[in-house]
């Protein structure tokens, strides 16, 4: 259960971050969603050996993190524990691609290491931008934005209900597992059988819960469609955020700022 506890603690942390009021929170979720998506596409559009040109793009997550006052500790912890898949699959690059690409003094760096570093860089950039977006917007507002961007409400309602009942269900599950732990007097690990039985009874409760929630919805006139009247209005500030960032991303994509700065630093002009 330790993994559940720690993951729920993380969700709780994110949820609290998302419920604050910072300059980032005040920007329309649609503007944030679109710029973040554009940012991710921009990051991923670089070739596999392009490491340096990626670095200037860090400005986007950095500004989000600053505007949203997102603790760096939060982002760093997430980066460390998240998704071993990319790290693992990317690890084959240095093994497979050993052609020297870069020589730094006596050190010869192979193309594989460069592309692996590029993968890690992509990982850091996209994950930190996504986390900053969610920490500065909240699932609820992300869904409102998605809905206004044309995502079917059947889907966004599912996301919201899932998020809402996750908290209830995990509490219920935690109570059950505590009760089990108390009765199983010291025997630690949980076998598949016990887990199956516990999941089974949690599932039954879940199904009952669905029925009760449905009854409660029906009592208040539910007919299969969840409607909202909370309007989103795109103000000048939001439009500026969107257009400004799209411009910055386009400029960074078009001009290799890192190369330019590097050339200046090493004394060469163009």
């Amino acid at each position: 259960m330790a993994d559940i506890d720690s993951r729920m603690a993380e969700i709780g942390w994110l949820d609290r971050l998302a419920s604050r009021d910072t300059p980032l929170h005040r920007i329309d979720p649609r503007a944030k969603l679109l710029t973040t998506l554009a940012f991710i596409v921009a990051v991923l559009s670089y070739g596999k050996y392009q490491l340096a040109p990626l670095m200037p793009l860090a400005i986007y997550p950095a500004v989000l993190i600053a505007l949203g006052d997102v603790p760096l500790k939060f982002i760093a912890r997430k980066l460390l524990i998240v998704s071993p898949f990319a790290i693992f699959v990317g690890l084959f690059n240095p093994l497979l691609d050993r052609q020297t690409m870069l020589t730094v003094g006596p050190l010869e760096i192979s193309g594989g290491w460069v592309s692996y570093a590029s993968i890690l860089m992509r990982f850091v950039l996209t994950v930190s931008a996504t986390l900053a977006l969610v920490a500065g917007t909240g699932i609820h507002n992300v869904c409102r934005g998605l809905e206004r961007l044309g995502v079917p409400s059947v889907f966004t309602v599912q996301v919201l209900l899932l998020y809402r009942y996750l908290f209830v269900l995990v509490n219920e599950g935690a109570r059950m597992s505590r009760a089990r732990a108390l009765r199983s007097a010291g025997s630690r690990g949980m076998g598949l059988r016990v887990l199956g039985a516990m999941l089974g009874s949690l599932l039954l409760r879940t199904l009952d819960r669905a029925q009760r929630v449905h009854a409660a919805m029906c009592c208040r006139g539910f007919d299969g469609h969840v409607r909202t009247i909370e309007a989103l209005r795109l103000r000048a500030r939001d439009a500026a955020f969107l257009v400004g960032w799209l411009g910055v991303l386009a400029l960074l994509r078009a001009f290799d700022l890192a190369g330019l700065l590097g050339a200046i630093a090493t004394g060469g002009g163009r």
Binding site: I4, R7, T22, P23, R26, I40, V41, L44, G47, Q50, A52, P53, M55, I59, V63, A66, S83, A86, V89, Q99, M101, L102, V104, G111, V114, S118, I119, F123, T126, T130, I139, P152, F155, V157, Q158, V159, L160, L161, L162, Y163, R164, Y165, L166, G200, L202, L203, L204, T206, L207, H214, D223, G224, D256, L257, A258, G262, A265, T266, G267, G268
Partner: protein
């Protein structure tokens, strides 16, 4: 087996996004037609249930590795394929947002890999025919296990195909597939066991829930459209696989050749690199550093130029990754950090509106 943003190219990610968006839209439209309003909360809490269950890792007996419930097939069985797909898509979306599992661009691929295959292929083509009209314990077990294994194998194939087509990771298609399929066979068996356990549990305790899933127009009696789906999927995967097979007979061999044959590299003295090198020598700020030899000229000189390397040329930067570039990158990172820090100070001191 979440695909990650870091490994995907915009072209692949975008294509899968479009496919996933079409699929979610299609499912949503279908649900609109046959919407029994009690399905809305049922899908919501079932999504939360699977999400919570996925957070529990249990050890796979005999292997020492751990697995967790994937849930796509389970949701299709309990809710029907359309509702199942929407629910698994919502799970993946929340995971992408909360845990950065996968990523926003890779979300499309993940919905296809973990939603489409179990809900629209494994469920209607394997589970339903096998379980038949009168389910029993044994039938449920066999059907769920086979369907889970098939769904996961297809999902793993999807992951491998998308990763290789993106061209960021060097792991060649065949080797990657050889790595992924056996792992996912084990995971599929466990998933099958877990799905069996849950479904037969529900079947005994709450048979009414299972009846809800096969409301007309959803899954059953739609074999025609499912067959078309399958055909398209088969053509696409077949095409992709044969393309890879023909262009890279053995990726590992090819890259080993690259290592052994290319010990020496001609120093490029042309154009910008040359100019920069001269400039650098003059200023001698970083005297010992050498500039990059990009991969391209080296690979181009190799005898049978494989398709991939010319593809790589397409995407590879003209400037490549150079020491000075990295230095510039480092400088920008420092600048970025300073800007972020200054902004945060300002934001912190400004009164919140």
């Amino acid at each position: 087996m979440h695909m990650s943003d870091a490994l995907i190219s915009p072209a692949v990610g975008g294509t899968m996004w479009v496919a996933a968006a079409g699929l979610v839209g299609y499912s949503a439209r279908k649900m609109r037609h046959c919407l029994d309003s009690s399905r809305v909360p049922l899908m919501g809490v079932m999504g939360a249930f699977v999400f919570a269950a996925q957070m529990v890792n249990f050890t796979i007996p005999g292997t020492g590795s751990s697995g967790h419930l994937g849930g796509g097939l389970l949701l299709a069985i309990l809710l029907g394929p359309s509702a199942g797909l929407i629910t698994i898509a919502s799970i993946l979306t929340v995971q992408a947002m909360l845990f950065a599992d996968g990523g926003l661009l890779a979300l499309g691929s993940n919905i296809i890999n973990m939603g489409f295959f179990p809900c629209f292929i494994a469920y209607p083509l394997v589970y339903l025919p096998l379980v038949g009209k009168k389910p029993g314990r044994g039938r449920i077990a066999i059907a769920a296990t086979l369907a889970a294994v098939l769904g996961l194998q297809l999902g793993a194939l999807g992951v491998v195909t998308e990763t290789t087509m993106s061209g960021i990771a060097d792991l060649p298609f065949a080797k990657f597939l050889l790595l992924m399929l056996p792992i996912h066979l084990a995971i599929g068996l466990v998933e099958g066991l877990a799905t069996t356990a849950v479904v037969s549990f529900v079947w005994q305790a709450r048979p009414d829930v299972l009846e809800l899933a096969d409301s007309p127009g959803d899954g059953r009696g739609r074999l025609g459209s499912v067959a078309v789906c399958l055909l398209v999927a088969a053509i696409v995967t077949g095409g992709v696989v044969s393309w890879f097979a023909s262009t890279r007979p053995d990726g590992l061999e090819w890259s080993v050749a690259g290592v052994t044959g290319k010990a020496e590299l001609a120093e490029s003295t042309d154009g910008l690199h040359g100019a920069l090198k001269r400039a650098q020598e003059r200023t001698a700020l970083l005297p010992d550093y050498d500039f990059a030899k990009t991969q391209e000229p080296a690979r181009g000189g190799q005898a049978p130029a494989p398709e991939e390397s010319s593809l790589g040329q397409w995407f590879a930067p003209s400037a490549g990754t150079t020491v000075s570039g990295l230095l510039g990158g480092g400088i920008t990172l420092i600048l970025v950090f300073l800007i972020g820090w200054a902004l945060r100070r300002r934001a912190a001191s400004a009164p919140s509106a």
